[in-house]
Amino acid sequence: MSDSRIRMGVLGWLRGRLRNIAPFVTLIVLVAFFWAASDSFATLGNLENILTQISVTGIIAVGLTFVILCAEIDLSVASIANATGIVVAFFTAQDASVTIANLPLAGWAAIIIALAACFALGAVNAFGLTVIGIPSFIMTLAMLQIGAGVSALLVRGQIAYSVPPLILTLGSRSLGPVPWIVIVAAVFLLAGHIILTYTRFGRYVYMTGGNREAAEYSGVNVRAILSAVMVISAVCSGVAGMLGVAYFGSAQQNEFDTYLLDSISAVVVGGTSLFGGQGGIGNTVIGLFVLGVLNNGLDHINIDSFLKILIRGLILLLALIINVYAQRMRTVTAA
C-alpha cells in the first residue's frame, strides 16, 4: 500500500517534470551514442566545434524563448538576422571587387544603424501583434518576407565581405582558446536567464504566458509585455545576424534560412512549453546542445548526408509530441 503510494508519488513527480527530464535524457543518450560510434566525436576540439556551431542559433534562441514563453511565435528571426547582417555590411567599406552601391561609415555608426534596424523591425512586429491585433504567427510571417525584401534590396544579388572590426572580432576571432562568438552566446543566454528568473519583467513574461487573462485582470500590462518580447526577439536576432556574417565571412541573401527551424527547434526540444508560461533559458541551453550534438555527431559517423535532413525533422516531431504530452501531464498533476 505505502510502497505503491511512494511509487505513485515518484511517478507523479517525474510526470510533472517530463518537460525538463526528457530533453536531458535525450542529450545524454545522444552523447553516449556518438561517443561509442565515433572516435573523433568526444574530443576537446570537437567540443569547441559544437559550441561554435550552436552560438548563432543560441543568440537567436534567447529572444525566441521570451516569445514562446508568452505563448506567441516569431517566424521572422532568421530573416531579421539576415537583414541586420546585411545592413551592417552595407554601411561598411567593402573591397573594390564588391559592386554594391553602399554607404561606408565608421564601424560604430554601422553597428548602431544595424541595431536600430532590427529594433525597428521588432517594433513593427510588436505593433502588428498588440495594436492591430494580427496573430504573431501571421504578423511575423509577413515580417519574414519584409526582412528578405530589405536584404534583397541592399545586396541586389551580390555578396559583401567586410564588417566593422568589432563585429569581425566577436564573430570570427578567439579569446585564447575560446571563440568570442561562444562567449557572446554565453553572455546572452546568461543575461536572458537572469532577466527571466530574477526580474519583475521576467515574472510578468511567465505570468502572461501562463494565463493571459489572469495577468490582464491582475493589472499586468499584457500588451506592453508582448511588445517587449517581440522587440527583444528581433534585437537578439539582429546581433546573431551581425556576428553570423562575420562568422560565415560573407553577407548575402538567404544565408540564415536554416536558422529559423534550428532556433525554434532548440527552444521546443529543450522543453519550453508551446502553450506558454513554462520552461526557460535552462531548457533552451539543453535544446541547443541536443541539436548541436545531433548535427555534429551525424557528421562523425558514416551516414547518408541527405538522411540527416529527415532525421532532424523526426527529432523535432518527437520533441513536439513530448512537449504537448508534458503539458497534459502537468495539467493532470495540477488538477
Binding site: 530574477y198 526580474t199 519583475r200 521576467g202 515574472r203 510578468y204 511567465y206 505570468m207 501562463g210 494565463n211 487573462e213 489572469a214 495577468a215 490582464e216 485582470y217 491582475s218 493589472g219 499586468v220 500590462n221 499584457v222 500588451r223 506592453a224 508560461g277 513554462q278 502537468r330 495540477a334 488538477a335
Partner: protein, 501 residues
C-alpha cells in the same frame, strides 16, 4: 388543451435528474401544446436549464418519461433531438458571422449539385423564400455579422425552423434586444404559433413572458410548481410562485426588508457620469463613497459586467467620464487602473489565478512594482503571502504549493489576497459568492465588511439578488444597459429587486 385523440407534441412526466447527489430536477411534469408559446420562469438554479437540456438531448441520463406526439422517446444526443424536430436557440447565438444569411439558414444542410458542389442558386432562392415566408425582411446575401443582434436572432430562429424543428426552445431571447427588436421577435413567434409550432420561451424578464406567452410554468428548487394561462395572472402572481408562498423561510428571505444605510457624508472616491458603451450599457451615472459598498444588480446581459470591466480598464467606454479622487481617469490598460488604485475580482477564479504557479506568486503579481524596482525579492513575497494565508485561513498554509492543488474555496481566498496587501481605493467584486457554500459566503461577507471599515469604496456586481443584498449599503438596479432604479436608505427585499429588474 388538447383532447385524448390528439396527444401533445411534447409531454414530460416524472422527470428527475441529479448531479452527483444534488437533485436538480425532482419529478417534473411538463406538457407543451400544439400552437402555443409556453413561458418558463424561475430563479437561477431552479431547474429550467436542466430541463431544457434534457429536452434538447444534452443530458441523456435522467429518470422519467418523455413523449413526442404520444410516442415515448429518449434522446441520446443533441443531434438525436434535432433530428426529431427539437430546435434550440441559445442566448449566445450560434451563427457564423462571416457567412451570408443564406448560408447561415442552410448551415449544416447546404443543397448540393452533382459532384458535391454547393448549389448556390438554389440555396439563395430557398433561403429567400423561407425568410419571406416567415416575414423576416433581410437580404439573404448580407453578411451575418453586419446584421443587428435582433436580426441575427430572427435568422437563427429561421435556421432552426429550416432544419425541420417543430418545437423551438428560446433561452433568454430578449436580454440583449432593444424594444423594437423585441416587438419584431414577438411578431415572428406569434406567426409561428398560429402556424401550429410549439415554442418554449425561457426568460428572466417577466414582462416579456406575460406579453408573448400563452401559458407559463414556474420553477422553484427543481420542481415545476405551477402552470397557468397568462391571461389570468400578473407579475405579482409569478413572483409569489417563484419565491414560494407557504415556505415560510424562503418567503422571508424574499420579502424580508433589509435596511440600507448609505453614507452620504463620506468622501466621494469615484464619480461616473453619462458613461456609455454601444451594445453594453448607456448613460450610467453613479458615485462611490469611501467606506460604502455599492451593489449593482441586474439579470445576465444587463450591462453591469461590462460596466465593471470598463472601470478596471479591460474595455473602454465610448462616451462619458470617470473621475477618481477628483481627477479624470482614463484607464487605457488594467495596469493603469491598478496603479491608479482600482482593484478587480473577476467572476471566475480561472480569470484571476495561475494554476501552475505557486501560491505566493499568485498573491504578489499585482503588487510586484511595490515590492521591488527591478530585481525580484522572493523572500519578501513569501512573507507577504504567508501573512495573508494566516489571516484568511488559507489551507494548506504553505505558500510554495502549486495553486492548482488548493481547493476552490482556498483559491478564492488567494484571489482576494492579491488586493489586500496595499489596499486599493476602489475594489470591484464581480459575482463574489457565485458557487460558494454557505460558510464560504459568510467568510466573504466578513472580509468585505472589514475592508469597508478601512475606507475602501467597494462595488459588488451580481446577477444574484442575495449577493447584492447581503453586502451592499446602496443598490443600483440595471436593466438592458441602463440604471433603472436606485435604492438608498430604504428597506429593500429580494422581491422588490426582482420586481424592478
Amino acid at each position: 388543451m388538447s383532447g385524448p385523440t390528439q396527444p401533445e407534441p411534447l409531454k414530460l412526466s416524472g422527470i428527475t435528474k441529479s448531479f452527483g447527489g444534488v437533485t436538480a430536477l425532482h419529478a417534473v411534469d411538463f406538457a407543451l401544446a400544439a400552437g402555443e408559446i409556453h413561458g418558463l420562469v424561475g430563479e437561477n438554479g431552479a431547474g429550467k436549464s436542466t430541463l431544457m437540456k434534457i429536452i434538447a438531448g444534452v443530458h441523456a441520463d435522467y429518470q422519467g418519461e418523455m413523449r413526442l406526439d404520444g410516442h415515448p422517446v429518449h434522446f441520446a444526443s443533441p443531434r438525436d433531438a434535432r433530428s426529431k424536430g427539437i430546435g434550440m436557440v441559445h442566448q449566445e447565438l450560434s451563427v457564423v458571422p462571416d457567412l451570408s444569411v443564406a448560408e447561415n439558414v442552410h448551415l449544416g444542410a447546404q443543397p448540393v449539385q452533382r459532384l458535391g458542389l454547393i448549389d448556390w442558386r438554389t440555396m439563395r432562392r430557398s433561403a429567400a423564400a423561407h425568410l419571406a415566408n416567415l416575414g423576416i425582411d433581410v437580404d439573404p446575401n448580407a453578411r451575418m455579422g453586419d446584421l443587428s443582434l435582433g436580426l441575427q436572432q430572427l435568422v437563427e430562429v429561421a435556421r432552426v425552423l429550416f432544419s425541420g424543428a417543430r418545437i423551438i426552445i428560446l433561452d433568454e431571447p430578449t436580454s440583449a434586444l432593444a424594444p423594437p427588436e423585441i416587438e419584431r421577435l414577438f411578431g415572428l413567434l406569434r406567426r409561428l404559433r398560429d402556424a401550429g409550432k410549439s415554442i418554449i420561451f425561457i426568460s428572466h424578464f417577466l414582462d416579456d413572458v406575460l406579453t408573448v406567452c400563452d401559458r407559463v410554468t414556474v420553477f422553484r428548487n427543481g420542481q415545476a410548481v405551477a402552470t397557468e394561462t397568462c391571461a389570468r395572472i400578473d407579475k405579482r402572481w409569478i413572483i409569489d410562485r417563484m419565491i414560494g408562498t407557504g415556505h415560510q423561510e424562503l418567503e422571508e428571505s424574499y420579502l424580508a426588508d433589509i435596511p440600507l444605510h448609505s453614507r452620504p457624508g463620506a468622501k466621494v472616491v469615484l464619480q461616473v457620469d453619462g458613461l456609455s458603451r454601444t451594445g453594453a450599457y448607456s448613460d450610467v451615472s453613479m458615485s462611490m463613497r469611501s467606506g460604502e459598498v455599492l451593489g449593482i444588480y441586474g439579470f445576465l446581459g444587463s450591462g453591469q459586467l461590462e460596466l465593471a470591466r470598463t472601470l478596471f480598464g479591460v474595455m473602454r467606454a465610448h462616451r462619458g467620464s470617470i473621475v477618481l479622487d477628483g481627477r479624470v481617469a482614463r484607464f487605457s490598460s488594467t495596469s493603469r487602473a491598478r496603479r491608479a488604485g482600482m482593484a478587480f475580482l473577476p467572476e471566475s477564479r480561472r480569470k484571476m489565478l495561475f494554476g501552475t504557479e505557486p501560491v505566493f506568486k499568485n498573491v504578489t503579481i499585482s503588487i510586484l512594482n511595490r515590492i521591488n524596482r527591478l530585481w525580484l525579492r522572493p523572500a519578501v513575497e513569501r512573507r507577504i503571502a504567508e501573512g495573508h494565508a494566516k489571516n484568511l485561513h488559507i489551507r494548506p498554509p504553505g505558500v510554495a504549493h502549486t495553486l492548482g492543488t488548493l481547493s476552490g474555496g482556498n483559491q478564492q481566498k488567494v484571489a482576494l489576497a492579491k488586493w489586500l496587501t496595499h489596499l486599493p481605493r476602489v475594489l470591484i467584486l464581480n459575482e463574489p459568492t457565485r458557487g460558494m457554500d454557505v460558510g464560504a459566503k459568510d467568510d466573504v461577507v466578513k472580509i468585505v465588511r472589514g475592508l469597508r471599515e478601512q475606507g475602501i469604496a467597494i462595488l459588488v456586481v451580481s446577477t444574484e439578488p442575495e449577493t447584492v443584498l447581503s453586502l451592499a449599503d446602496r443598490i443600483l438596479v440595471m436593466k438592458k444597459g441602463r440604471v433603472v432604479r436606485e435604492f438608498t436608505d430604504e428597506p429593500v427585499s429580494k422581491d422588490r429587486l426582482l420586481d424592478v429588474a
